[in-house]
Symmetry: C2
Subunit: 350 residues, 2 copies
DNA sequence: CTGTTAGCGCCTTCAC
DNA sequence: GTGAAGGCGCTAACAG
């Protein structure tokens, strides 16, 4: 298969009657190349539709102006939102973006998969890598690397993370303020710092309000809808039933809403539901979802800026950068014991 | 910057006391390597955490088992859904996926951008490429290439496309059957075959029903929400106003709904709205969106299978593969002139 | 069964 | 200003 017969630098050199090095110089805007030569070479490049081989280039030179993104779950909305922000940011910096996903997902442990991808991409094809919700605590990073929503504990890589604890506390406070006392909690993905912090924030608010923390009101989660559904079912089978459920992210909250619907419960009338993330679809749900915004695209933009700084050899003042969260009140939560007439009034106020 | 000091095949060879070629053989499961040697090398690889450089590998050998995806709009839900399907499919075939997005988007024409990316990726780093909604009619493909939702007219690449004309006809027929006669249409992205076919389907149904086609009921679109919003506003300013609007895709339909809301119209009471795509969020809208499903992830899976077949040197029997569409009736359209009581009855039937 | 050799396309000295 | 030569990490003959 001679499918690789692309135009090479040699072809250009021949056609323009110069040596390959001269073409290379033109390509990289180097030194002084005689004006006439420059133009001639440039013209030849255009005519032949030449593009320098990414593979050869990354092999030879120590930078490629490419940023790698490593994410296992391509159907995780968090990853998609992040991708938007990163794609947005690279436009301003003249970098390219590469997203690499291996088909060997099933065979490897999550941490193993991550390590493989980092060493595959980083330092060769990409100048630096952004990794999303890593499970690994240490990553083989010869080239710069930054994590978004990192693993808990002491990780050896810099990170971007939202003010999860504060955000979760505010949401819980809001629910308490609405009169809720039995507030179920569906946890986040095991091992992630964000999950840990959100649970902390929930406990903080309970504590502060003098509500004793109950183990049985907390069910496990993994930030995915399906798990949210299952855990919500368990919570809804409790007697007395929780009057509100705070899910550690929007996907879990959607799973919760589905579970509640299946039980014949109406939201927010019979159950208040809150999420975390503020995905675009949160606003479109019925009822629209009250949640904590962590402005995911913004996190992507920040991660991009920081990885570029790292690539440029600068050092980060703060190894972990906190991105502020914001409480978003919509219509999926309502005061406990509100009467129907009050309910109507409330609706009309909107 | 010595950031590239990754473990190389040489390091492994030295550590395992063999030549690089032997390591290479182990890496690629080649020939016969003495069992003892194989194990020793394998162990060394693991110990050193070695990963072969993608760049070097793709430069040397004529296949990489990597499929490239080229898509300009990373925030286009169509692309995201497709990505899911492709990512799903590569798992079964042992291929890897690379998504490449350059930051130089603004500077180039769309077709130019596409050409650049194809020649950048294809044949070097990727064995074949899937390109989404290309504007270019010819693409510099030395290696296999397949388009999803191709450009109109005679393109020189194979493609995967839905039965757009039929789908659009069915939706329009449905609206007509509900009693609508003034049906506005918001077109798809200029130049795409799908856009052309959907408009055709709309006209087909009108024709068939003996409803004269009116130019002023068709507004331009580009498959994006914003444009859908603007075009919907124009349609809603018409007197008499259309009683239904069929948007060429779901994003445009969402824009339409927003425009209608802004005009104080209620859906489907004052205006029926239909889309095309059946994005996941279509079901979550209020009212849920009646649309034409083209099962985008499935299109991604099919495209993946076909590009792999092409890579394997097989030929495709049909250069363009049609994927069936399906009419999805939800709640955003309703019979014209239905009385309020009928309306209630209808709701209760669900 | 294993090592040696010759490049893949490109960039970078070092000459001229 | 420009060309020639060497080598990045790897694979594919060709020898042994």
């Amino acid at each position: 298969m001679s499918s690789k017969s692309n135009v090479t630098i040699q072809d250009v050199a021949r056609a323009a009657n110069v040596s390959v090095s001269t073409v290379s110089r033109v390509l990289n805007d180097k030194d002084d190349v005689a004006d006439a030569t420059y133009k001639r070479v440039q013209r030849t490049i255009d005519e032949l539709g030449y593009t320098s081989s990414l593979a050869a280039r990354s092999m030879r030179s120590d930078h490629t102006r490419v940023i790698g993104l490593i994410a296992l779950d391509l159907d995780d909305p968090f990853v998609i939102e992040l991708l938007k922000g990163i794609n947005d940011a690279i436009q301003s910096f003249g970098y390219d973006l590469i997203l690499y996903a291996s088909g060997a997902k099933a065979k490897l442990s999550r941490a193993e998969w991550e390590r493989r991808h980092v060493s595959l991409i980083n330092g060769s094809i990409a100048d630096g890598v952004i990794i999303v919700t890593p499970t690994a605590i240490t990553l083989p990073s010869t080239a710069p690397l930054i994590a978004v929503d990192p693993h808990k504990g002491d990780t050896d890589y810099p990170a971007v993370i939202a003010t999860n604890r504060k955000g979760a506390r505010q949401m819980t406070e809001y629910l308490i303020q609405l009169g809720h006392r039995r507030i179920g909690f569906i946890a986040g993905r095991e091992g992630l710092k964000s999950a840990e912090q959100r649970l902390r924030g929930y406990k903080d608010a309970l504590n502060e309000a003098g509500i004793p923390f109950s183990d049985y009101l907390v069910e496990p989660g993994d930030y995915r809808r399906q798990m949210g559904f299952i855990s919500a079912q368990k919570l809804l089978n409790l007697r007395p039933r929780p009057t509100a459920i705070f899910a550690a992210n929007d996907e879990s909250a959607i799973g919760t809403i589905e579970a509640a619907r299946q039980e014949g419960l109406r939201i927010p009338r019979d159950l208040s539901v809150a999420g975390f993330d503020d995905l675009p679809q949160a606003a479109y749900l019925t009822p629209s979802l009250s949640t904590v915004s962590q402005s995911i695209p913004e996190m992507g933009r920040i991660a991009t800026k920081r990885i570029i700084r790292l690539i440029d050899g600068e050092t980060l003042r703060d190894r972990v950068r906190q991105v502020p969260t914001e409480l978003i009140i919509r219509h999926s939560c309502r005061p406990l014991n509100q009467t129907a007439s009050q309910d109507i009034q409330m609706r009309e106020l909107e």
